[in-house]
Symmetry: C2
Subunit: 285 residues, 2 copies
């Protein structure tokens, strides 16, 4: 069975739009900052801004040149931190390599950190603090599982990948006490000698290693739930753009073996955007 991230996200958008209506004429404002001209980053930011408009969140984009200095960027963040009209600040990753990402991100006021990117919100998440603003992709995965009615409590979740925006915060989220969590969590990564040994034991497998079709059927347990976070571009001359987007899971063969699977595109991606909107409303309240 296919987990339809697009449909679940659309439902969340509707719910958020209804809640935002009750707060009118007040409305939250999301400010997105984009440094440099990475085309994928521009696409992501635009889809986030469009999603804001649909549900009734106002938004602004700051497009800064690749040559922006750390001082210029942190000064802008400082101004947005103080601006009472600004609810949320989203700093689109990746930053150009001359900027110290950890240093810049942590200048965002944690109360406006709707992407859950600061150390303070990561720490609140680890400690099980319900006021944390949780990173959007991990939160989207949790919500997607819950809304599909897939139990998480007591299940063995194997997370492949240990990035700061997916693997590590998702591990922290699903091992907490409470509803939608209480999972036994294993994190595997590039230094795990045999990833398949662990992934074959997963009740819920989360693939976030950035390798196209890495998880073939022999690396997945019969009846597992498979969440594919991968966003890999494969050359494909039959496609108009000459390439196509594929996940970390060999979808066609794995879907015959697992109980639930997310497609790419249309799985985790739309949930990430829905959670950005949801976090913006949480920050506003």
């Amino acid at each position: 069975m296919i987990i339809d991230g697009t449909a679940i996200a659309a439902q969340i958008h509707e719910e958020l739009a209804a809640q935002l209506k009750t707060l009118m004429p007040r409305r939250p404002q999301l400010v997105a900052i984009l440094v440099g001209d990475n085309p994928a980053s521009h696409l992501y930011v635009n889809s986030k801004v469009q999603a804001c408009q649909k549900v009734g969140i106002s938004s602004k984009k700051f497009l800064l040149p690749t040559t922006t200095t750390e001082t210029e960027l942190t000064n802008l963040i400082g101004l947005l931190n103080q601006d009472p009209e600004v609810t949320g600040i989203l700093l689109q990753m990746p930053l150009p390599s001359h900027l110290n990402t950890l240093h810049v991100v942590n200048r965002i006021n944690p109360a406006k950190d709707v992407d859950g990117a600061t150390a303070y919100n990561h720490g609140k998440l680890v400690m099980g603090d319900p006021t944390a603003l949780v990173p959007c992709t991990p939160l989207g995965i949790q919500v997607m599982l819950q809304r599909t009615g897939i139990p998480i409590e007591g299940k063995h979740v194997v997370i492949a990948g240990r990035s700061n925006i997916v693997g590590k915060p998702l591990a922290c989220l699903l091992m907490q006490k409470g509803a939608g969590a209480n999972a036994t969590v294993t994190v595997v990564h590039s230094h795990t000698p045999d990833i398949g040994y662990f992934s074959r034991q997963a009740d819920i497998l989360v693939a976030a290693i950035g390798q196209a079709h890495y998880f073939t059927a022999d690396r997945v347990k019969d009846g597992a739930v498979v969440i594919d976070v991968g966003q890999n571009q494969l050359p494909d001359p039959t496609h108009p753009k000459g390439k196509r987007l594929v996940g970390d899971v060999a979808y066609d063969e794995v879907k015959k073996k697992c109980s639930w699977i997310t497609p790419v595109p249309g799985g985790v991606g739309p949930m990430t955007i829905a959670m950005l909107l949801s976090n913006t409303l949480k920050a506003f309240r």
Copy 2:
């Protein structure tokens, strides 16, 4: 073979004392705050203060009544945050139940949080930020393994227990990129249906669930490394105090099966104190 935490900690104390001498006449100051009259907490704080004196860290104790209000406690923390003479602030846990632990802890200036208790330092740890002040017990376990020459990279570490001071930060620490980490990490806990299923797969087993002798030989893999964080009091009429301290591991039977094991007492406990001193020096620098 037995991992002698007392000996490793003594060696670290010597190294710290030598480093502190080079900084004279400047010296760091640790302030310990203890709320209420829990006898175990008094013992812990006293042993920490004594350890400070031995290596040349000055220290102060604030002993507050159980009836201390949250405002009184956070006001004290605020004064210590501003005091340039104070290097480190240690808030001994547990706090009386009328105080909101998460709220109070996060009032400590992260730069003085030598116990690694604040959300900010937890978050830095998750994100792999080397400026993090890491919670003392997890850091002590990592250092103990490294100084014993036990490889961590690529090993499967199973951590039993998900507390904010041991299990969760240790998982975050050992799954990071870099030396003394790069482990595949599994966290099991009270909601894991069969803990033994996972603990039998551990190359390195960390027992931190607070149940005396829970890990019997049949729950440990042949040749595993076993780290026992448990501090359980068992009634024992043959002891002068009528009770004795035991770990979460059935030491006598497990030591015949594993490659390395920490005793209780004399294993993790002394390392925790050594890391408090080490963090205080790090904060001072």
